[in-house]
Amino acid sequence: MATINLVDLKKNYGPVPAVKGINLSVKDGELIVLVGPSGCGKSTLLRMVAGLESVTSGRIEIAGRDVVKAEPAERDIAMVFQNYALYPHMTVRQNLEYGLKNRGTPREEIDRRVKEAADILEIGPMLDRKPRQLSGGQRQRVAMGRAIVREPAAFLFDEPLSNLDAKLRVQMRVEIRKLQRRLKTTSLYVTHDQLEAMTLADRLVVMNGGLVEQLGTPTEVYDRPATLFVAGFIGSPPMNLLSLESIAGASGFDGLNLPAGTDVVGIRPDQLTLEQPTGPSLALAATVELLEPIGGESHLHVRLNTSNQAVILSVPGRPDIAEGAAVTIHARPADLHPFNRESGRRTDTAVANP
């Protein structure tokens, strides 16, 4: 049980900066998810915390101790790797025991912890099998088990679910969440999947280009994306980002009263409606290009008549609309997110930003 503090952490590969100065405090027992596109520096950041990458400058404190110079084994962390990294020639039990044996843990203690982890993860019957005899989900559990038996100060997860098929991924996601709640171990979790990030995180760090774009709870980040990048990255289908020119002249546009500096507004697909809402609204004339029914809801792809701008709506059920039909789409002014394109930031005062 511990806190993790990152202070102005930087990493350069030769002249190329990969991580450009990150400050982050992970509270005791908290699960923080680092999310971003590939190459954003999230994995490098995690690997620096693990001690697998050297640090160019800055400080890493785990449980109040500066560990920048410490070997991975001396940092009291456990890591779950993307491809599990189970030792293929050892049985599940030997995999779980290896780290403990290397630390000279007494035999009874090892047995107790292995049994406990096996019970938690329900892998008891597999203890004497080799990794290749296990399914993907079972390997994933063993990899988690190897972290659990160590009883470390912190768990580090490096895209642990990305090798699983979609169904299993959802199932394991729930299990990781439950497990982390139960053990209350401070955790850093890296993923590129924004849905995984939203569902797992106590707090979310959205990274891009080696910098933190936004830090906040999933709801904060979803409801008030701090930057254009976050607005486009979090949420599926992604937020519609419309330049002011493309909607100028629409009915209700003049009454919008946007903050100074705004030249782009964002609106989530599920906050656009085909019916006129009560109260004031922005009404845009559009033509339907494609209707994608995806079960309980449908994605409606339209183009604005005035500017030819593509827009996506999420509408409940399966509306009876033909492709090529003319529609009017409505947005409530309160649902609009105002941004400035040049700075990339919100133009109404940031509240969710640290």
Partner: protein, 282 residues
Amino acid sequence: MVENRPLLSFLTHLVLIVGVVIVVFPVYLAFVASTHGNGDFLSGLVPLLPGPNLIENYRLMLTEGISTAGAPPLWIMLGNSLVIAIIIAVGKIAISLLSAYAIVFFKFPFRLLAFWIIFITLMLPVEVRIIPTFKVVADLGLLNSYVGLTLPLIASATATFLFRQFFLTIPDELMEAARVDGAGPLKFFRDILLPLSRTNIAALFVILFIYGWVQYLWPLLVTTDSRYYTVVMGIKRLAATADGEPQWHLVMAAVMLAMLPPVLVVIFMQRLFVKGLVETEK
């Protein structure tokens, strides 16, 4: 694929059978010769069917040898060959594992230079540098010794390359997981890398055992003491007796005995042999 060409199938098998006959026939002749008595070779044509002297000839060669040819009994030479082939195979594997480990898992000054020094050994087979190498071994006082017979043959770029290739295919995460689990470099080598290299080591052992066994020129140069003769070089002495025609039945018994161990290794470890051969050379 449906193919209905009986003539082609027949031809295919015919080609293979002729091929097998060509490959096997010289050895069959040698075997037949090794089962006859001395007198059977005076008729002007070698016998084509086995004779009655098999046990007698092999026993004689194994226990006594041909004293006039200056070669010791075959069991001594077979023993030497076995010892030397094993030392060469184990030695090559050991030093190659270590150097490949250094090259793949560490970064250090002169790493590239070390790699090139090892690489160069590919270009200097013993046959092209016999005399100076012989001189070095003689100056070190290693003539007529197992060390002199094996050590100069032990450096091997191919084994180092094979292990390097294999190490590069081991996922990075495995080593990272081991480090997080508290394993240092030697522990990682012993607990993870060696067990994972088992198949490669075995395959390479088969190839290198054969390599060591069939060595001829080098043992010929560095041994004058018959206690250190290997069977492959000893046979040449048996065959090259000064007084005219060699004693064919005994020479061929020795030939069969010299061939048998490595050929059995190939036949019974065919899978490892093929793996070792195809992977070291690529």
